[in-house]
Each structure stands twice: as structure tokens, then as C-alpha cells.
């Protein structure tokens, strides 16, 4: 192939790419309107708590970081330096969050971290492997209940079985919570082999409902609608007193960073490609040797395992759990956070969770209409930028790159 044809082809191809993006999913007027609308609400002076202020700053910082990364090509040294500096900056931000905060703000920050763990896991299941799940709230609940039930040798009576549960150290209880969710996720992973898209959403939703009913009705095990209170006293891990909320926040943060590193590792390993192949085209993937069943179950169990770990952390953080915290609304929030942040991007879940948190806080003044406004916002966001915040930045990046190359 001569140099001229290859350049010609490349240019033609770039033009195609630009055209593709132009008529593609990101709608500029809608995106601008969405940004304006979100900014208006976010800047509203009502209901501004200390916590929401931090979240707002955090979301703004993330968007700024995405913008900065947009300006520099990923492959260049500058780009690499900026990328790592951004990452370090984000970690530093999370570490500085709790300094000089009140206890209630610290609990809210802890909740943000815990929910981010769930969304990081869901992002692997849904974002990278393409398996929609509306059951993460249930896994959060299972993790929470398992860890609480294993705290002080509780007496339980369920389905004709009466006995005393073991009393496990906190770290071990967290691990058991995660593993329980991984095993149970196989239950909904198998239907996922048969159904896709909205049907899979229904199946997972039904599972969530089932878990809710069990939590609500198995009074002998879960305390029913009265819930359970954590009675754990052994809260010193590696010499750190976790009764101190600030310490506990850092403890949760370590799990969040580990979960993020784990997902990052998986995504860039050969597994990541297999997951994406599963998402893009499972039939083709199988014909190329990808074991669709095993990878689907893996995608589900990793996401569920992380939700279980998050559940164990959550239970200790808020000290009292009842089934209402794990109803399908919770699963929808995780789902929306992941989608709004940007499916299949590493930064997406972080943006999504903070976005949802800020929006929830800002819309508090609407009272009972909160869900309506919230839903409208998400619909609007999705119409404007279907790939979510981080996904739109990626689109913007390819568009800029295509333009640069076409101009060359």
C-alpha cells in the first residue's frame, strides 16, 4: 500500500469518524441545556449542608480533571504525567475530606465511600461486561446482615433451625459477607446467561424484591422490619480504633481504593477484553473461544462481592440496619449513579455517586416531589449525554483527536 493511499484512507476514515460522532449519541444543544440545568440546581442556595458542599467540590474537581485530561493526548508524556497527577490529587482530596468535620458529616462521607464501592463493582458487571443488575441494593443488604449476624454469637431461629451463630472478627466478617454475596450472585448469574437487557433487569429486580421480603419476614434471623443493631465490640483493627468515625472513614476508604485497583487490574488484564467482548457481542465471543458462562458468572460475582463488602462496612457505619435500606429504590440509585457517571469508565462511578448525592441534597426543598424531579433530571441527562459524564468526555476526546488528525 503506497503512502498516499494510506494517508488518503486515513483522512477519509477520520472524516467518517467525525461524522459518526457528529450524528452520534451526544447531542450538543441538549448537553448544554443539561449542564445549565444541573448547574442551576446545584448552585441553588437551599439545603446546602457541609457534606453536600464537599460533594459539590469533589464532583467539580473530577469534572475539571476530566477536562484537563481532555486537553492533552493520552499517549504523550504530558498526558501521562497529568493522568497520574490527577489520580494522586483525587486520592489526596478523599484523604483530606474528613479533616475538621463534624461527626454527622463524617458518616455522610463514609456513606459516599461505601456507595462508591458498590458502584465500582456494578461498573464492572454492567459497564464493562454489559450485564445489567438491579440487585446491588440486595447484595448491600445481604453483606450488611451477614456481617451484623456474625458479630456477637447471636441466637437465631430460621426455617426450623435454632442455634447460635459464630462470633467472627470484623475483617473476617467482611470477607464472609463478600463471599456470601459472590455465591448468591451465581443464582442470578445463571438467568443472566439466558436473558439480556431489560429482561435481565427484571430478573435482578425480582431477586432484590425476594431478598427484601426475606429480610422483612424472617424475623427469627433478621429481626424483620425492626431490623438489627450492631453489637460489635472488637473494633480495633491493626491497632486502629474504628469506633472513631474519622478512622472508620479511612478504613472504608482503603477498601474503596482496593476495590478500584482490583477493577482496574481486571479491566486491563485479558479478562477485561473478554468482559468487553461479552458486552459487545456474546455470540461472537463464544465463537472465538470466550467461555461466556464462566465470564458472565465472574462479572456478576465480582460486582456482588464488592457490594457485600460495602454492605458490611455500611452496617458498622450506620450501626443499625433494617430492610428498607435495601429496597429496590437503593438498587435504582446505584444503577443511576453508574449510568450517569459513565458506564465502562474508571472515573464514572465516582462522578455518579457524588452527582446523585448532590442532587438528592439540592432537591430536598421539593419535598414529596423529590423522586419526580430526580427522575426528570436523569431522563434529561441521559437524552443529552447517553454515555454519562465520563463517557461524554471520552467522546469529546475522540472527536478532538479526529479533528486534529483530519486537520494535519
Amino acid at each position: 500500500m503506497s503512502a498516499t493511499t494510506s494517508t488518503g484512507e486515513r483522512l477519509a476514515h477520520r472524516r467518517d469518524a467525525v461524522a459518526e460522532i457528529d450524528r452520534g449519541s451526544l447531542s450538543w444543544p441538549l448537553a448544554a441545556a443539561a449542564v445549565a440545568a444541573v448547574a442551576t440546581v446545584v448552585l441553588l442556595p437551599v439545603g446546602r449542608s457541609e457534606f453536600a458542599g464537599i460533594m459539590w467540590l469533589w464532583a467539580a474537581a473530577l469534572v475539571a480533571v476530566l477536562g484537563l485530561n481532555l486537553l492533552l493526548p493520552v499517549e504523550s508524556w504530558n498526558g501521562i504525567v497529568v493522568k497520574w497527577a490527577s489520580l494522586a490529587g483525587c486520592v489526596a482530596f478523599l484523604a483530606v475530606f474528613p479533616v475538621g468535620r463534624t461527626n454527622s458529616t463524617l458518616v455522610d462521607l463514609g456513606l459516599f465511600v461505601v456507595f462508591a464501592i458498590v458502584c465500582v463493582g456494578l461498573n464492572l458487571t454492567h459497564g464493562f461486561a454489559g450485564k445489567i443488575s438491579l440487585a446491588q441494593g440486595a447484595f448491600l443488604g445481604i453483606g450488611a446482615y451477614v456481617s451484623v449476624l456474625l458479630d456477637t454469637g447471636r441466637e437465631v431461629a430460621v426455617a426450623g433451625f435454632e442455634g447460635t451463630l459464630p462470633d467472627l472478627p470484623f475483617l473476617l466478617a467482611i470477607a464472609v459477607a463478600g463471599l456470601t454475596c459472590m455465591v448468591l450472585s451465581v443464582l442470578i448469574g445463571f438467568p443472566a446467561l439466558r436473558v439480556q437487557g431489560p429482561w435481565l433487569a427484571f430478573v435482578t429486580l425480582a431477586f432484590n424484591l425476594l431478598v427484601y421480603l426475606v429480610l422483612n419476614n424472617e424475623v427469627g434471623l433478621t429481626g424483620g422490619s425492626r431490623g438489627l443493631r450492631t453489637l460489635r465490640v472488637d473494633l480495633v483493627v491493626f491497632g486502629v480504633d474504628l469506633f472513631e468515625t474519622r478512622n472508620y472513614y479511612y478504613f472504608c476508604l482503603v477498601f474503596l481504593l482496593a476495590a478500584t485497583a482490583l477493577v482496574w487490574w481486571i479491566v486491563r488484564s485479558p479478562w477485561g477484553r473478554a468482559f468487553k467482548a461479552l458486552r459487545d457481542n456474546p455470540g461472537r465471543a463464544a465463537s472465538l473461544g470466550v467461555d461466556v458462562r464462566t465470564y458472565t458468572l465472574l462479572a456478576f460475582s465480582i460486582g456482588a462481592g464488592l457490594a457485600g463488602v460495602a454492605g458490611a462496612l455500611y452496617a458498622r457505619l450506620i450501626e443499625y440496619i433494617d430492610p428498607r435500606g435495601f429496597y429496590i429504590g437503593q438498587s435504582f440509585d446505584f444503577f443511576l449513579a453508574t449510568v450517569v457517571g459513565g458506564l465502562g469508565t474508571m472515573v464514572g462511578p465516582f462522578i455518579g455517586v457524588s452527582f446523585i448525592t448532590v442532587l438528592t441534597d439540592r432537591l430536598r426543598f421539593t419535598g414529596d416531589y423529590y423522586r419526580v424531579w430526580f427522575g426528570l433530571f436523569v431522563v434529561f441527562m441521559m437524552l443529552a449525554a447517553p454515555r454519562g459524564v465520563a463517557g461524554s468526555f471520552n467522546q469529546l476526546r475522540s472527536w478532538l483527536r479526529a479533528r486534529r488528525e483530519a486537520a494535519r
Binding site: 473478554a274 459487545d280 463464544a286 465463537s287
Partner: protein, 250 residues
């Protein structure tokens, strides 16, 4: 070319959908190093036959042997890893991934175990091999491009390249000439012939374009209404009155 040992033996393969036998007691061999053409009018069961051989459908009866081993009950990924590669009638690439990642995905599952792959280097040492194949298929300047951004012709090349990257025992091509610009047909044929002659790759090719397949295949299987009508060299098949009857109506 037909002297080679049979790599794939299909015996008595049958698949019916609601009382209609889409594939009805089909038997044939694919020999090592040959290009086998499979032709027949629309709806004669060619694609269903491929789907049964490669595991997308489970056959009701019959055997599919690869190197003498019955693989007829295996799931598709296992057959692929054992050496049966394919393309589909409608082209199928992983649109969100780069050209290079598409090919790595196509190659990686043949190496090691699932658990082991989590701890392998991201490119699994496939970089050079993949890059050579990309160059060979003329996609060098597009290696890092999203497959979804490629033109139809380029995606078709990638789709075919993905079937080769794992050095399969037999490559099953479902209508490689379908949707290809007539001026490019010679190109497609030359590429298949080149892979057959220089790399010794064995092919089974379903094709509608008679001129294309008669100029390419060493042997041809003619199917009609789910059954094998006749098998022979292109010349034998061309002169067979039954084949004319099927195609021209009688």
C-alpha cells in the same frame, strides 16, 4: 488436495425446527489443507449446518468429529478452542474495542486457563503476532482505531482476521463475498487462497456467489432442502444435471 486426512468429519447431522428439517442427515468430510465450498439455493440449510458444526445450535442427531474426537455436544467456545474457527454471515466485530484488542480477544482464550489469564501480562505476548496479522490484512494504519469506526469493508477484513489469529485447524467462512464490492472480490479470493497455500489453512466456505466459489474451492458440496445433493470437484459439480435442476428449477 483432497488426499489430506479428514480434519472434520460430519456424519448424519440433523436439525429440525418445528417439523421442518433444516439440516437432514448431512455427512461430509473436510480434508486437511483443502478449500471446501458449500453451495445451495436460499434456505437449503447451509448456515444452519455451520451453526450445528460450530455449536451455535445443538444438532438433534449426528456427529461432528474434529481429529477423530466427537465435539458435537460441546459448547461453542470449547469447539473454538479445539480449533474450529468461523465468521458469520453478518459481520461481527467488537465495536467498542480497537482493532488490535479485537484480535487479542480472538487469540487469548486459546492460551492457558481462565484463572491464569487474570495474572498474565495484558497483551499476553500476542502483540507481535497480532501486529503481523494486522499488516497482512492491510489494517496497519487502523490498529488503534475503534472497530465500530471502520468502514464495512475494513470490518469485514477484521472479522476474517479474527478467525485466523488462533491458528485454527479449520476456518468456516459464512459468505465471505457477501456485501463485498464486486471489484474487491478478487482481493478476498486471493487472500483466502494465499492463506490456504502459504499457511496451509483449511477452509470450509459457504457462498452464494457461484463464480467466486468455483474459482476458489478444491471440492464442492451441493445442498438442497437440508440434504447433500452431490459432492465433487468444481468441474464435476458444474456438469451435474441435478445441480442445474436445483438452481434453474425443473
Amino acid at each position: 488436495m483432497t488426499e489430506g486426512a479428514p480434519v472434520v468429519r460430519v456424519r448424519g447431522l440433523t436439525k429440525s425446527f418445528g417439523g421442518i428439517n433444516a439440516v437432514d442427515d448431512v455427512s461430509f468430510d473436510v480434508h486437511d489443507g483443502e478449500i471446501l465450498g458449500i453451495i445451495g439455493p436460499n434456505g437449503c440449510g447451509k448456515s444452519t449446518l455451520f451453526n450445528c458444526i460450530l455449536g451455535q445450535y445443538r444438532a438433534d442427531r449426528g456427529r461432528v468429529e474434529l481429529h477423530g474426537r466427537d465435539v458435537g455436544r460441546w459448547r461453542p467456545h470449547r469447539r473454538a478452542n479445539a480449533g474450529l474457527a468461523r465468521t458469520f454471515q453478518l459481520l461481527q466485530v467488537f465495536e467498542s474495542m480497537s482493532v488490535r484488542d479485537n484480535l487479542k480477544t480472538a487469540a487469548q482464550e486459546h492460551i492457558g486457563t481462565i484463572g491464569g489469564r487474570l495474572f498474565r501480562r495484558p497483551d499476553m505476548g500476542l502483540g507481535d503476532k497480532v501486529d503481523r496479522l494486522i499488516e497482512r490484512f492491510g489494517l496497519g494504519h487502523l490498529a488503534e482505531e475503534r472497530a465500530g469506526n471502520l468502514s464495512y469493508g475494513q470490518q469485514k477484513l477484521l472479522d476474517t482476521a479474527m478467525a485466523f489469529v488462533s491458528d485454527p485447524a479449520v476456518v468456516f467462512l459464512d459468505e465471505p463475498a457477501g456485501g463485498v464490492n464486486p471489484t474487491m472480490l478478487g482481493d478476498v479470493r486471493d487472500r483466502i487462497r494465499d492463506l490456504n497455500e502459504h499457511d496451509g489453512t483449511t477452509f470450509a466456505v459457504v457462498e452464494h456467489n457461484m463464480e467466486f466459489i468455483f474459482g476458489l474451492a478444491h471440492r464442492i458440496v451441493v445442498m438442497d432442502q437440508g440434504r447433500v445433493l452431490t459432492t465433487g470437484t468444481p468441474d464435476e459439480v458444474r456438469d451435474d444435471p441435478r445441480v442445474l435442476e436445483v438452481y434453474l428449477g425443473g
